[in-house]
């Protein structure tokens, strides 16, 4: 739609950072970091130098004072070394040789919305990384050595992995793929060098500081804010933004970056606290990096709900991908891992796939953002169809077992990180132990609040040690006790975020064929997107968790989210036999297709077999055309993958956020609606009517209702 216009949109924002000095003759504007003018000035440990011509700025981060930020940007280390959520980035330039031309910096997309705790950029002290910095500078052509190595490996691997399911994605599966504007690399590099030259002497002398180049992002992800009221201002600020014409060559800046000083995160960041990395994370991660250098670790992360398992899993994956070589006991230096296998067993809030799935991913680039910004095509995924294993524990256990088996088959030499769900009580405990037996992990990481360690968490750790004596059990503190309580979005909102992010990819009609994890089109409503028409005859349909009579299959399917499954099961060929003897069965009309539109249903009594299925993603059955026997289907999955899908699975646990149903309806002609009285007709399957009467609300699970017992306490 307005993609071209939007991407050339000027970057209007560093004026969010209030104290913008006018562009000096040297061309660099100095921007102090406090966003809020009321803040004390002492928090200016870092400084920002903004390019007057490009959407580029240099951020100087002093060691020991991490910089938390909100927004979406691209970053690359230029001088020194920095870390973001465990991902280490090493700049190509040394403080001692500032004038030298830095080689092209590979920018990585970083997403720090206030729907999760905010990311921090921290400088890594020069003393600890001096060897690695010089190593990477001399050997690597890229500053972000880890990420660069990853991309090289990927190119190599895309050939080797040709036989696997994800073949179709190989071209676009790099989360932080190179940007299309490579022709402007020289321009940016030259500007970085020029800005480096303008750094004040005080900054230059502060050795150990890290200079990070920051660019505006081009993903359009911030448009997600308009979809639901609760998403408002998760990436941008409330302050009205004034637009500048794209042709103006005036002072450009970086939109959607907001530096959050430690004292101000309440006021400025919409209450999301920064992710403060506890020391126990670094200690555990470095132990695990050593283990990965010595062998292939199977790391299983366990803990209760909201303990911070997912964030730690990302931290660990990023560390494994980018950590500097470590000296192993044998004395040899092991390189960072080009790829890490990641299994997510939490179908409620999976880290890399849309809700309702459990999946195995081959991760080759750091995961720099919360789940909805890092949705990746899976190496192997299975449709669970609910936000917890409760609905079908046996099937769930088979699914996660199959994912481990898939890792053993597909990428056995890559370190494995498994994130479990937070169900550790009752049957959840048994499920977890069963899974641990299946995986037989080398390392068990238990994430829990430090205060709980003396109580139930400590007990759980002892149980883990007894149960799994061969594994090393590492105790890790929750990142921030404040985080969970400060974030306004609940689990359902997070699922909605992921669903919106998942479906609002550039529409299939767009010529840019390969799937890119960092491209969105949130301005073309789902209701306006041309669907695929697929013959019901070429698919099977399966309903899980609720049995649906065959006559009601289409009523149950219309307008819902389904799992797209490649099903390797063989089925009996009734149809041919039936056609051979079109006997006068009264219930079978002459033209069989017209009677039941060619629908084929796998009865509920034959459960999905995880070993035989692969869920390539989700789709919306946006309409059913009974006359032609066609389903109209919307999905971000590429068409060449869709062609292999032969089973649709529907489960009540996977919901389409209502904003996707209503988005864009304003501009659909009222004339298309039934009658003159329909001016307020809501879209199908919704109503504006209030729920009236007893029991008018849908049932929800009864949790945490305690009884008042007399005599207790």
């Amino acid at each position: 739609m307005s993609k071209r216009a939007a991407s050339s949109n000027p970057f209007d924002a560093l004026r969010k950072l209030r104290k913008t000095a006018s562009s000096s003759s040297a061309g660099a504007a100095f921007v102090a970091t406090q966003r809020d003018a009321a803040l004390p000035a002492h928090s200016a440990e870092h400084a920002m130098f903004v390019s007057p011509t490009l959407d580029l700025a240099l951020l100087v981060v002093a060691p020991g004072t991490p910089v938390a930020f909100k927004g979406a940007v691209r970053i690359a280390a230029v001088v020194g070394t920095c870390r973001v959520l465990g991902a280490e980035m090493r700049g190509p330039t040394l403080w001692s040789a500032l004038g030298a031309m830095p080689v092209h910096s590979r920018f990585l997309h970083v997403f720090s919305p206030s729907s999760a705790s905010l990311l921090q950029i921290e400088a890594v002290a020069a003393s600890t990384t001096s060897t690695s910095t010089s190593t990477s500078t001399s050997t690597s052509t890229s500053p972000a050595a880890g990420a660069h190595a990853a991309s090289q490996t990927q190119r190599r691997d895309s050939k080797r992995q040709g036989s696997t399911h994800h073949q179709a994605y190989a071209a676009g599966s790099d989360l932080n793929g190179g940007d299309a504007d490579d022709d402007r690399v020289r321009e940016y590099t030259a500007e970085i060098v020029r800005l480096l030259g303008t750094l004040p002497a005080a900054v230059r002398s502060a050795s150990g500081a890290c200079v990070v180049a920051v660019r505006a992002h081009n993903t359009h992800i911030e448009h997600i804010e308009r979809m639901m009221p609760v998403f408002r201002s998760i990436l941008t600020t409330d302050a009205p933004r004034r637009a500048v014409s794209s042709s103006t060559a005036g002072p450009a800046s970086i939109r959607h970056l907001m530096i959050v000083s430690p004292e101000s995160h309440d006021a400025a960041a919409g209450s999301a606290p920064p992710t403060v990395i506890p020391d126990s994370w670094r200690d555990s991660a470095s132990k695990l990096v050593e283990a990965a250098a010595a062998g292939v670790p199977r790391i299983c992360i366990v803990g209760a709900r909201n303990a911070g398992k997912s964030t730690f899993a990302r931290f660990l994956v990023n560390t494994l991908l980018t950590s500097a070589p470590v000296a192993t006991s044998g004395g040899s230096a092991a390189a960072a891992h080009p790829e890490v296998a990641y299994i997510d067993c939490d179908p409620g809030q999976p880290g890399l796939s849309p809700p309702g799935l459990v999946s195995l991913h081959c991760v080759r680039a750091p995961l720099l953002g919360p789940a909805f910004t890092t949705l990746l095509p899976p190496l192997r995924a299975l449709f669970v169809g609910s936000s917890s294993p409760r609905e079908d524990p046996d099937y769930f256990a088979a699914c996660v077992g199959e994912l481990v088996a898939a890792w053993r088959r597909e990428m056995p030499s890559a370190p494995l990180v498994v994130n479990t769900n937070g169900w550790i009580k009752g049957m959840g405990y048994d499920l977890l132990m069963h899974f641990i037996d299946t995986l037989s992990p080398t390392d068990l990481v238990h994430v829990a609040p430090a205060v709980a360690r003396s109580g139930p968490a400590g007990h759980f750790e002892r149980v883990l040690r007894e149960r799994c004596p061969s594994a090393r059990v590492l105790a890790v503190d929750s990142a921030s006790d404040l985080a969970a309580s400060r974030i306004k979005l609940n689990a359902a909102d997070q699922r909605a975020l992921s669903m919106v992010s998942y479906f609002m990819r550039p529409p299939a009609a767009e010529p840019h064929a390969p799937f890119s994890p960092t491209r969105w089109d949130l301005d073309t409503p789902l209701t306006h997107r041309a669907p695929y028409a697929v013959a019901m005859q070429s698919l099977r349909v399966k309903f899980v968790h609720e049995d649906v009579p065959a006559s009601q299959a289409l009523a149950a399917l219309n307008g819902t989210v389904v799992g797209l499954v490649i099903d390797a099961c063989e089925y009996h060929q009734q149809q041919q036999q039936q056609q051979q003897q079109q006997s006068a069965t009264p219930a079978t009309p002459a033209d069989g297709r017209d009677a039941h539109a060619g629908i084929r249903i796998v009865p509920a009594c034959f459960p999905l077999v995880p070993a035989n299925t692969h869920c390539v993603g989700l789709a919306v059955v946006r309409a059913v055309d009974l006359d032609s026997g066609m389903l109209h289907v919307l999905s971000p999955v590429p068409r060449n993958v869709l062609l292999r899908v032969n089973l649709l699975v529907r489960s009540p646990g996977v919901e389409l956020p209502v904003c996707l149903l209503t988005d864009g309806l304003d501009s659909i002609a009222a004339a298309g609606r039934p009658s003159a009285g329909a001016s307020f007709a809501p879209p199908p399957y919704t109503t504006y009517m209030l729920a009236e009467g007893a029991g008018a609300a849908a049932k929800r699970n009864r949790h945490l209702l305690r009884r008042k017992v007399s005599g207790r306490n």
């Binding site: 739609m1 307005s2 216009a5 637009a243 767009e510 209701t527 669907p531 695929y532 028409a533 697929v534 013959a535 005859q537 698919l539 049995d547 649906v548 009601q552 009523a555 149950a556 219309n558 099961c569 009996h572 009734q574 039936q578 219930a587 069989g592 084929r600 249903i601 009865p603 009594c605 946006r622 309409a623 059913v624 055309d625 066609m630 109209h632 289907v633 068409r639 062609l643 292999r644 032969n646 009540p652 919901e655 209502v658 904003c659 149903l661 304003d666 501009s667 009222a670 001016s679 307020f680 879209p683 199908p684 399957y685 919704t686 504006y688 009517m689 009467g693 029991g695 008018a696 049932k699």
Partner: protein, 615 residues
Amino acid sequence: MRRVPRVVPWATTEEWEWAYAALYSGDADAQLRAVRRLKAWASRGKVPHAVESTGNLVEISLRDAGLLSALSDTELRLQYSMAFIRFVNGLIDQSQKGAFAGSATAVAESLGLPAWFVELRHGATHDKLPPLSLLRTGRTHALDWLHANYWAVQKSFVADATVKVHSLLREFKDAQKAALAVNAASASKAADGGQAAGGVRAADDAEKEIQRVLRGLDEVVSGDNFPDLVVPVMLSPGFLVPVAKRKRAQYGADGTPAGLPHQLAQLWWRFIDACEAAWQGFAEELVVAVVEFVASAAAAGEHDDHQPDEARPGEAAAGKDPRTSRSFVGTLAAWAVSIIEKLGGGEQPMDLARVARACLASPGVLSLHILDAAMSRDAELSSRIAPVRAFVEKRMRIEAALAHNLRSPEAAVAAAAAAVSVVKPSPDASSKKSASGKRGSKPRADPEAAASASPDTEAWDARNARLEAEMDAIRHRVQLAKNQHESDSVGRAAKRVKITPAADGQDAGEGTWTLLDADSAWQPCPIGCLPSGTVPQLDLPRELDDVAVALQAGVLQIPVGASSDALAPWHHTPADEPAVPDGVDAELPAAADGAQTRPRVRQDHFLDPMSLVLL
């Protein structure tokens, strides 16, 4: 800001009402249909607890055929007990507030749930399984209770409230008329030099009455539902538009309505102001409703009203909706313009971009008239929309030309081509290129983007590209019109996608997953709808619910190697009958044998007349 609707499992209110009627019809066949539809709802999710409970209780009742039941008494008692326990517990759980659970009895009392419901639940849970007779009584009373406390309440809510709002609005109209009359009288008396005490009292009375009506309205209506309750009533005859045609707005020479008659404006502005004060966004909803109403009236074909006022019955006899008459919609449009002019730029200005989107989505003479009012209130909006507006107006002319010339396609093509060359926005080469690249993805104008995007993202070349795409769409439609003798209607084109049957049930291969582009006449429409904008009827033949029939039709798909007893629990087959999937492993001889040799699964044996007795 568009309101956010609530997700429900039924497609339309009519579907809900159909299920309600069927479940309480006493007709076992209708009940069975409804129970099956409720299973589809369960798969969709978000089924109200009361609906689920009703379905459970009715379904078991259908299995309970007295002596002829396929189930033993114990089975029935277990089923009734579970349905009843879940019915009571679900209600109580929903009413639990706070961190601590209250006692079931106390919550039941607050709900108006009979105490013996809670006792029966307790007995079924903890004590001896209650006898069948008691459970049947419980079932009957539970269904009655659900009827009185959920179904009837939900159904009548909107209807009752609408009736109430209707009468309150009439009372307001009378009171305001009285107040205006008193004012007029006192004004003339003041002109004469005196003021009667009676006039003051009458004015007080009228004012009191107005206040009473507004308070009454506030009790019935809330900020959530005023668009459902108040706005539709205001758009019905006798309110914003007087019944008497001479009191309505007159049309000007240019075909658009002139301003509102003074009397009419005086009558309702007080009310609109009060509503806007009470519920923020009222004026905006009202204007958008008027725009949509005007559009749908235009679609229904507005008609001239030559008849004098007294001839209204005759009008109805002629089968014409009085609400689609020219003077009716014209007066509504005049109201919209008046409201935009007065409130469009107030302290809490209405979302004029939304109004503009609504106008552009269904352009007509009147909606463009309203659009002009919105544009005159907002210079920024105006500059953004002006080219779109110009284009839409020209497209209207082209379509009018096409409509007149449909019988001779060549003439239509010529006329449209002429029109196209007139509007062509003289694009440069690059925009032409991007237009052809985007062709198909956007077959219609995109007023949404035009109105919502900020000006900087609406670069001129993008506008031109869109106009170009629109030109393509029009040329395409001309082509379709030309081909009309080949196909009955343009809409059918979507169905001409060829069906490739799967070779042998495995990978579908090429030919499926066809993207519906502009050539297939697909149009944006709500999720769940076909491009025609309607939810099709989705019931498949009932016979398919019979496992044997469904197997034979190939609707049920049985995995090879599945264990032969896998189907058994799926369908309640009495032990004396051969289980349905007997032949599954042996390449389905059941299907091959045909219906004659194999005893067919008894069709819905619970549909026995005896079940009617029990209901």
